[in-house]
Homo-oligomer: 304 residues x 4
């Protein structure tokens, strides 16, 4: 049960079987930092390039394909006083015929936010007309993290899949436990793309992009196979599907939840269907990245 | 400001330009009843056929194409002690390759629920293994309601569109104000398909299907054009898109919210984009019906 | 075996259970005319409004729900020397992020074509830069036709479904036999929306919109149930799925072909799968209308 | 202008920046062999594993990001007398509610084909009921080939993207010229997944999987940027979009064709839109793999 403090010197723009930066044991914690989505560090210096540079990968001793990696997000703290965002909705989230009404030509300057971790707020640096210095409560989350994918792939941090990646789901906040299928020896965990806050769906294509100090703790469920990212918070267990269209992401998340209820909790198929059918909730992750993200949540109060 | 009590003698399975059952004035309220989705009444007698028989239509005096109808859901009360549901997830919400694991052959008997409005609960009549007599809090909502569509269409109550219809959105509960574009003189409001509760997405293809006593109050926004159903509750204004895939439903809902923010609240396009991008929330309506439903919600605390 | 000559005096913008204009027997033929998609007649006079006004409906004696209507397209002849088209691709057929490169502001004037039925050509009336007076071979087809839908619906001629409607499929040319499920007594056949030619997918949202003289002959397959439009030409039998996304339209067409092979030709499920899997061809109908269209074709040389 | 004969000793299951097996010059040809999709060689020996093992990659001297690689498919010859196929349609190409009618339990034995290159036919080894020894004309094509993707990615040969990959398009036959964007120095061309013939859409998830002798010739379009695979045969130029849903694949293909017409042939945007709108044709590639494939074709007779 060691807590490792790791200072990154380089970053990866793919989730893949890269050389591990550190080997850690099941039960260990890591304290490290992430740069922002474009590769700027906590001092505002560009130290690498985007998209979504990853800190890591961390090799978890004993992790083997067929296991499930447990990754508790102990702490996610923005460590820079300003963040950046895009101002306009992404072209794919509005009606194609209405795109001419988005001010692509005149309104595209990025917006900057003062992020005050003590107060828990983000405020527009420059006032935006009627919005003034719009101030919102922050909700720091990891946009892009996970493990190395199967078949020797290296998948861009722009997108996501069964290995996690750029899911941009608002629910991956401090205190949450994430679960990932292990596809390669050591799992090869990496973290990046911190958002001080993100709108639902990441419909502008960005959150408030910022640097983080991150602490996480890993464990292993040996021989417990999972197929898609999963998670758990105080109220829910949840499953994450990544695909396009959103309908398919929902199919993946729903199917993974049925698997969990049947294999993990011992429900019969009919029981799992009834329970899911009348108590599940869905959250949207992102609807901007190449793969969209849908999350199926089961209230823990209905579980044995 | 009259309150009309109306007892239906026939029902419609489409939303269309049917003969009005009653003419009411802007400001008036209607107290009436709905049968369940399959056409059974509060006594358990089948009085008509499905899908989703509508009570109405009610002609709102003065409503003209180009107006917006305001429909406050004053009261939605299940008036029968039992409801029915399907037990299995719909084939379209799980991975196609996993469909063989759904017990289509052996597990398809409908489930019945005791619905106790006083206690606010629904409980399985027959125990389901580990679930026992699963008891859930009810949250009565209208699955299918709205106005007559444009162009003289009569659209099946199985599906939904710009006129409302079978949106199966959990958010249409008592106390909510719904808004619909008026496409025909009198708007031709109708209501039906009460659910004592519904799972998110209506992923089994049904809620707890039950009969309702309904009270609603209509008003008109003369000359205020809307394009998709809208709504308002204590915390949010919201817009509703109905289409497949879910991505397109989301585009409709998002676009309609931009319109509302710009036309209704006077935001510039850039302001509307920024505000929506970092404060909006999405709810899923149904992912079962021919048209899926996605809802875009804007917290009222950020509006002028 | 009567040939009826029918001159329309009014038109419908929905496919629905409208008052029949003529009652015809199985085996009868009808010679009639259609106006163009916007309601202009062969003299260039606007006699009704769009979308896609239908001539009919024609009541086929003896047609009952559960039958299949056979409709042979005997002759489709443009009867006006000019047609109209939109010049620009529809917003939904290009990448959302590339829409700014379509000249929405400056390049939207409709294009007119001289249509010469004798020569079999359509030529641009006004030269278009490098394209000059682009001349293309015509291939007259019906964009929108079919029968009345189920459940008392009246569905806009902008869209399509199991009843046919606005499929905008280039394959519905003279000499083809179309088949439609009968949903209402008399089937209620109607025809409209002639295109002198249409691009694949109708990606501009229009063909060369023109008026037609149409001759068709109806027959009935009593007690033979079909679920989606079907067709037959010299080389293929084909099935038509209408839905969004295109993936779902393809599912409908493929499933209907499996049904046809199994129920109509007596193949076992495995035989039907093998045959379809290695010999079928797909055509796209439209990718513009609310419902997209996909066609599954089976070469007749592989059928018994 | 050298012709290299290359005998592979290992294969890759991803398209990525792997160590080149050979360096070739622009203008050079390569004669080599491919194993089948599951890794069996021309002798029926399993020499590697699936999916779709690639022969290569070949480093093309002088190829730089921003160039376009030209790859002429000189010869594609099946070099084994038997091929294998799946018998049943993939679950994703039929209606979800109809999946119970596919004989998953009893009819899943693979089918074997005798492939006779001289006669140009493939025949079922074992008769299939009414189909007997179904005999089809072969049309040898490459299912999976292309270049290394951008951003240091290594993408599974199960899927496709801007770099090509598992497009499973029937149009990539002998005599065709394929074009790929160059994303990495040397382009890193690879080839695999030969099909003696494939059904449209690869709706069973396989063609007649077989080994090939392949000859191809490379050239470079220096400084000519492309974004998606392109191709050319005697009659058409074409562009290839890979994504889900099919609608998005179509958007990519259509957009890439507009680019080609405007940048490569000097049409104005309006001219390109008009020409494409009324003369283009679409082919479907695959509707089975994680990314679907749609092809936009422009007849060369309308080009300057």
């Amino acid at each position: 049960m060691t807590t490792h403090t790791f200072t990154p010197t380089h970053y990866h723009n793919t989730m893949g079987s890269h050389e591990p930066v550190l080997r850690i044991a099941s039960g260990d914690s890591v304290i490290t930092t992430t740069v922002d989505a474009m590769g700027y560090d906590m001092h505002g210096q560009r130290v690498t390039r985007g998209p979504n540079p990853q800190t890591g990968p961390f090799y978890v001793e004993g992790a083997e394909p067929g296991d499930t990696l447990v990754m508790h997000l102990d702490r996610l703290t923005p460590n820079r006083p300003t963040g950046e965002s895009g101002p306009l909705l992404a072209p794919n989230v509005v009606d194609p015929g209405w795109l001419g009404n988005i001010p692509w030509d005149t309104g595209t300057d990025d917006i900057r936010w003062n992020v005050d971790v003590q107060k828990g707020t983000a405020s527009l640096v420059n006032p935006e007309g009627k919005l003034g210095h719009l101030t919102l409560p922050i909700a720091p989350m990891l946009g892009c993290f996970g493990v190395a994918p199967y078949d020797g792939q290296a998948i861009s941090c722009m997108t996501s899949g069964q290995h996690g990646g750029n899911m941009d789901y608002m629910g991956f906040v401090e205190g949450v436990t994430a679960y990932f299928p292990v596809f390669v020896p050591g799992a090869l965990v990496s973290v990046g793309d911190g958002h001080a806050l993100q709108g639902d769906g990441e419909i502008t294509g960005s959150g408030i992009e910022i640097t983080f100090e991150v602490q996480f703790t890993v464990n292993l469920l040996k021989g417990k196979r999972s197929y898609w990212p999963r998670g758990e918070n105080a109220e829910y267990i949840f499953t994450v599907g990544n695909a396009r269209p959103l309908d398919q992401a929902l199919q993946h998340a729903t199917t993974e939840m049925l698997r969990w209820l049947q294999d993990g909790y011992g429900f019969t198929p009919r029981e799992a269907n009834v329970l899911l059918g009348y108590t599940a909730k869905y959250d949207m992750g992102n609807v901007f990245d190449p793969a969209y993200t849908m999350v199926c949540k089961m209230p823990k109060r209905y579980l044995p």
